[in-house]
Symmetry: D2
C-alpha cells in the first residue's frame, strides 16, 4: 500500500445505508482511498465486513472488508472525513473533527443552515466553498465543515440553477414522491408502502424550502439566501431509489418550454469545467418521451450523478412545469459529498 499516493479518507457512519454508498462510490477513486471507517459503539472494534450487513447490489469492495471499525469518539488520522452520520451524532462529532483540523464533508443536516457553514452543490454554488475561511476564523477551528443538502433539495436545485441564471425565479411549488432508501434501513415499514402512499416526511418540506434558497443565494462574507417563494409537499412512495418531483414555477422573465429545455440541456458547471472525476458529463438530462423520467429507468444515468428532467410544458397557473428525477443516495447524498471534496481539492482548499 506504500505506493498508493491517494489521499486517505475516513467514512463516518460507514455501516449504514449512506455510509455503504460512500464505501461503494469511493472504491477505485483516483484521488481518495478509504483508510478509516467509524460507526457507533455497537459496531466499533469489529472489522467492516463483520459489522456491516451490506445491502447494495454489488458486493462489498474487497479493500473495505478488513478495515477495523473505529468508535466515533476515537481520533482519526485521515485529513478528510465523509460524514453519513444521523443528525444528533453529527452535531458533536463533526464539530470535534473540524476543530481538530479535518475537512468534514457532511451529508448530515446538523450544520446545513449554520450561518458559517457552506451548503454546496458543486455545479450550483461552487463559490460558497470560500466560506470555509470565515468559518475557521469564527469558530476557531483548524479544519472545517462543508455540507451538501437534503436529497430532494439537491436534485430540485440542480434543475433550478439554469432557470435561475437565465430567467430568474419568482416562485415555485414542488411535490415529491420519494424513495424509501432515503430513510435508511430498517427505515420505512413495508406495511406503510405496500398498496400505499405516506403523504408526510418529517421536516423534509422545511429543509427543501430553506436549502434551495441558500444554495441559490450569494456568498459575500456571509450567506444570503435567494429571494423567491417556495412551497413543498413531500410524499413517500414504494420505490427503492430515486426521488421524483413535480415542479411548477413562475420565472421572473417568462420562458417557453423550448427555452427552458435549452437552458437545461446546455447547463454545465464548475465540475464539468474542471473535469472532476465524479462529475456527470451532463448534469441535467432532458427526456422527450411523455412518460419519463421514471425511477427504475432513469435513476442510474451518469452513474446516478445527474438529474433527469421531463415533461417540460406550460403551467396554466405559474407559467412552466416539469418533472425531475434523481438518485437520492448517490447524487442526493454520498456522491454529492464526494464531488464537493473533488471541487475542494481542485480549488486548493483541502488540508493536504
Amino acid at each position: 500500500m506504500s505506493s498508493d499516493q491517494r489521499i486517505p479518507v475516513a467514512v463516518l457512519g460507514a455501516t449504514g445505508s449512506v455510509g455503504q454508498r460512500f464505501i461503494q462510490l469511493l472504491e477505485g477513486h483516483p484521488w481518495f482511498r478509504v483508510a478509516e471507517v467509524a460507526a457507533s459503539d455497537r459496531s466499533a472494534g469489529k472489522c467492516y465486513a463483520v459489522a456491516t450487513e451490506w445491502r447494495l447490489t454489488a458486493e462489498m469492495p474487497e479493500s473495505a472488508r478488513g478495515l477495523k471499525v473505529k468508535d466515533l469518539g476515537e481520533e482519526l488520522t485521515s485529513p478528510i472525513a465523509f460524514s453519513a452520520l444521523p443528525g444528533d451524532a453529527a452535531l458533536e462529532v463533526e464539530a470535534r473533527l473540524a476543530k481538530a483540523g479535518h475537512a468534514v464533508l457532511s451529508n448530515a443536516s446538523a450544520y446545513r443552515m449554520d450561518p458559517d457553514v457552506p451548503l454546496v452543490i458543486a455545479e450550483v454554488n461552487p463559490d460558497h466553498i470560500r466560506g470555509v475561511e470565515r468559518q475557521k476564523a469564527n469558530k476557531d477551528w483548524a479544519g472545517y465543515i462543508i455540507t451538501n443538502g437534503n436529497c430532494s433539495a439537491i436534485h430540485l436545485t440542480l434543475t433550478l440553477k439554469p432557470l435561475y441564471d437565465a430567467f430568474g425565479i419568482d416562485a415555485m411549488l414542488v411535490t415529491t414522491m420519494q424513495a424509501v432508501s432515503g430513510a435508511g434501513y430498517p427505515g420505512v415499514p413495508s406495511l406503510d408502502m405496500i398498496d400505499n402512499v405516506v403523504p408526510y416526511i418529517g421536516t423534509e418540506e422545511e429543509k427543501m424550502q430553506e436549502e434551495a434558497r441558500k444554495f441559490l443565494g450569494s456568498y459575500d462574507g456571509g450567506f444570503k439566501p435567494a429571494d423567491f417563494g417556495i412551497s413543498a409537499h413531500c410524499n413517500r412512495v414504494a420505490v427503492r431509489d430515486g426521488h421524483t418531483e413535480c415542479v411548477s414555477i413562475r420565472l421572473k422573465q417568462p420562458a417557453t418550454p423550448a427555452e427552458a429545455i435549452e437552458a437545461f440541456e446546455t447547463f454545465r458547471g464548475r465540475p464539468q469545467e474542471l473535469d472532476l472525476p465524479s462529475a456527470p458529463k451532463r448534469p441535467i438530462i432532458v427526456r422527450h418521451e411523455n412518460n419519463r423520467p421514471q425511477p427504475n429507468l432513469d435513476r442510474d444515468v451518469e452513474n446516478g450523478m445527474a438529474s433527469t428532467v421531463g415533461r417540460v410544458r406550460e403551467c396554466p397557473v405559474l407559467g412552466l412545469k416539469y418533472v425531475l428525477l434523481g438518485h437520492n443516495t448517490v447524487r442526493g447524498a454520498a456522491g454529492a459529498s464526494i464531488l464537493n471534496a473533488e471541487l475542494l481539492k481542485a480549488e486548493g482548499l483541502l488540508p493536504v
Copy 2:
C-alpha cells in the same frame, strides 16, 4: 321477483373493473335493482358469472350471476342505464340509449364537456341536473345523459366546494398519485409499477383542469365554468385503489388552516339534506394526524363515498395547502353515478 318494486337498471360495460363496481354497489340497493347487463360482443350471450372474471374482494353478488349479458347493440328495457363504457363505445351507445328515452348515468368521458350535458357531483352542483331539459330539447332526445367526472377531478372538486363557497378560489395547483385500478384490467403493467412511478397519465391533467371548473361553474340555461386558474400534474403509483392529491390553493379571501378545516368539516350538500341511500354522512373527513390520509387506511371510510383531507396548513406560495384522498372506483366512478341517479329520483327527474 314480482314483489320487487325497485326500479330496474342496466349496467353497460358490466364485465370490466368499473362495471363490476356498479354490480357490487347496486347489490341490495333500496331503490334500484340490476335487471340487465351489457358488454362488448365478446361477452354477449353468456351469463354474467361466466363472462366476468370477478376481481373485487367480496364475491360476485348472487343476483347478478345468472343475468344474460346483452350485446351493446341490443335494446334495453330498463329506464336507467349506468355506463362504465370506454370512451369510444360510450360515444355511440350512450347517445342511442338517451335518444330512445333512457336516463343514462355515465362514468365515461365522452360527453362530459358537451355543452348540453350536465357534469354533476351531487354535493357540488346538484342544480346542474336541470340542464337535462335543455339537453332533450337541443338534441331531440326522449331521454338524457348525465355524466360524473374523472375520478381525480371528483375528489378534488368535492374538497374545493366548501372553500369555493366560503372564500372563493383564485388559482390552484394539484399533483396526483393515482391508483392503478383507475386504468382498468389488465391496465397498468406490473413492470411499470414495481419499484417505479410513472409521471404521466394520458389526458388526465386536461380532464382535471377543465372538469373542476365546469363542476364549480353555474347553470343558467347553459354551463358557465368557474373562473380560476388550475394546473395538474398526474402520476401513477403502486397503489390498488385510492387517489392521493397534494393541493396548493390561493383563495380570493385568505383563510387560515383552521378556517379551512371548519369549512371542510361542516360541509354538507344536497344528498345529505335528502338523506340519499348512498350519500356519505360526512362528504369530507378531516384527519388531524400529520401522516394521513393514506390510501390503505382511508379509502374505504364512509363506504368509499367520502373524500378524506389532511395536513391542512399554510402554503408559502399560494396561501393554503392540503392533501386529499378518495376511492377512485367508488366515489370516483360507479358510486358517483349511483348517487347522481338517487338525486335525480329524489328531484323527480327520472323517467319512471
Copy 3:
C-alpha cells in the same frame, strides 16, 4: 352498561397489530365484551385511543377508545384474557394470569409446545381442550392457558385435517409465501419487500413442522403428536395480509384430486356443529379457477376465518398437491383465539 350481560375480557398487547385485530373482531361480539386492555409500560396509563396508532382499515371501535391501558404487571378483573403478547413477555405474564385463575387464550408461541398446554384449532382438535384439567393440576394453577398456533401452521393444518381423517398422512412438504403483517409493525422493512423476496423467517419453519403434528395428534392424558414427516420452506413476500402455501403430500391411502376436493368441501368441525359465533360456515373453501387462491381476492372470505384451497392436482413425487391461502391475523391469530374461547364456553370450560 349495567345491562350488558356479556362476559368481560381483557386483551393483552392490545396496542400492537394482533392486539388491534382482537379489538376489531371482538367489537359487537355476542358473548364477550372488551373490558380491559393491557400493554407494555410505554402505553400504560393512557387511554387506548391515545396509546394506539390504529392501522386497520376500519376505524377504531368507539367502545375501545376510552379504555385505560393497564400495565402488564397489573391485576386484571376479567375472567378471560386474550394474549397478543410477544414471546418473551408472554412467558411470564400468561403464567401469572393463569395461576391467578384467568383463562388465557394465547396467540403467543411461548407455551405452544409445553407438554401441559393444549394447542388448539377448534375444527381440528377440539378434544384437546380437555387438557386444561391436567394442566391446572400439574402446574397448580387456578386458571389455564390454551394456545392457538403459528399463523402458517393454523391454515396448513386446517386443510390437512380432512385429508388426515379420510386418507391418513405419510409425509408432506410445504413452501409458504407469507404476508408482512405477520411480523407486526414496524416489522419488515420496505427495502426488504420492494422488488424482493426474503427466503427466511426466523423459527417459522420449526414451528410449522412441530405444531402441525401436535394439532393433528391425540390427547389421552398427554399430547401425542401425529406421526408423519413434514418439511417447510418459509418466505416473506410483498403482501399485506394473507399467507399463501404450496403443499405436496403423500397420503397413506392415495386419493385422487376429486376425492381430496370432496374431503375439503364437505369438511365441518365442532364449531360448525355448535354454530359458534365466529365459526365460518365453510372452514375450507375450494376454488376451481386455475389461478386461485390469491391473497388480495380470497383472504377476506368468511370474514377471514376460512382457508381457501385451489389447484388440487396430482403431484408426480408425493401424489397430491394444492395451494392454500388464509388470513394470517384473523384466522391465523386473533380470530383463532376467539373461536377457541367460544368453544371453551360452549363446552362449559370457561371459568365463568
Copy 4:
C-alpha cells in the same frame, strides 16, 4: 466497420423484453456483433431506435439504434440467429431459418422437447450439442436449432447438476416465486401484483418437470431423459427480475449440507474450462447468511450469469433442501443462448 472481424448475428423478436436483453448483452461482445434485427410486421421497416420502447436500465446501445428492423419473413444474411420469438412465431420462423442454413439459438419453447433438438445449458450438458448433426440429417436442414430452456428450469438444473453428478437424484420438489419480467411487457397486470401473489403460471410447471430431466439426461444418438421424480409449484410474485426457488431433494446417495455446499462451490463446467466470454467464473455461488439469496441483492452477481444458492440444510422429508435464485432474463434467457453460441463456436460447430 470493414475492420470488424466479429461474426454477424441476427436477433429475432428484437424489440421485446428478451430481445432487448440480447441487444444489451451482445453490445461489445468479443466474438459476435448484431448485424440484423427482426420483429413482427408492426415494427418492420422502422429503425430499431424508433420501433423499440427500451425498458432496460442502461440506455439502448448506440450501435443498435440505426439498424433497420426486418420483417420475420425476410431472409437473413447472418449465419447465426438468436431467437426471442414467442412460441407460435418461433415454430415457423426458426424451422425456416434452420432449413436455410442458419444456426438458430432459441430461447423459445417451440422446439425444446423435439426429439431431434438439443436443449442445452452449457455447464450441464455441453455434449448434447453433438445432436445437431443428427438433427440436420433427420430434418434435412442445412442449419440447425439449439434451444436453451425455460428460465426457471435453467437455474434449477444448473444447481442440480453437481448434486446429480456427485450423489445421484432420486426425486425432488421445487416451488418457485418468479419475477414479472418473465412474462414480457406489458405482461403481468399490476392489479395482479400489488399486495398479491398469483399461484399459477401457464405450462410453467410442466416445462420445469420435463426440461430438467432432458437437460440432465444423456445423448447417444438420441436424447434420453434422466430418471428421477420431479414436481413443481410455480408462483408469480411482485419482483422485477430474478426467480427464487425452494428445493427439497432426495439424493440417491445421501449427502450432508456441507457435502452439498462443497459440490456447489467447486462446480465448474465446460464454459469455465474453455473460458468462454460470457461464462461466469463461478456458475454457482453459495451464500452463507440465513436470509439469502434475495432477488434484489443477488440477481446481478457474475453479470447475471450465475445461480446463487443459500440455506442449504437438511429436509426432514427428502433429506436435503435449499433455496436458489437466478436472473431470469440473463442466465435464464438471452445470456443462456449467447453462452450456448460461444460453446458452439469453441467446439467448431458454428456454420462460419
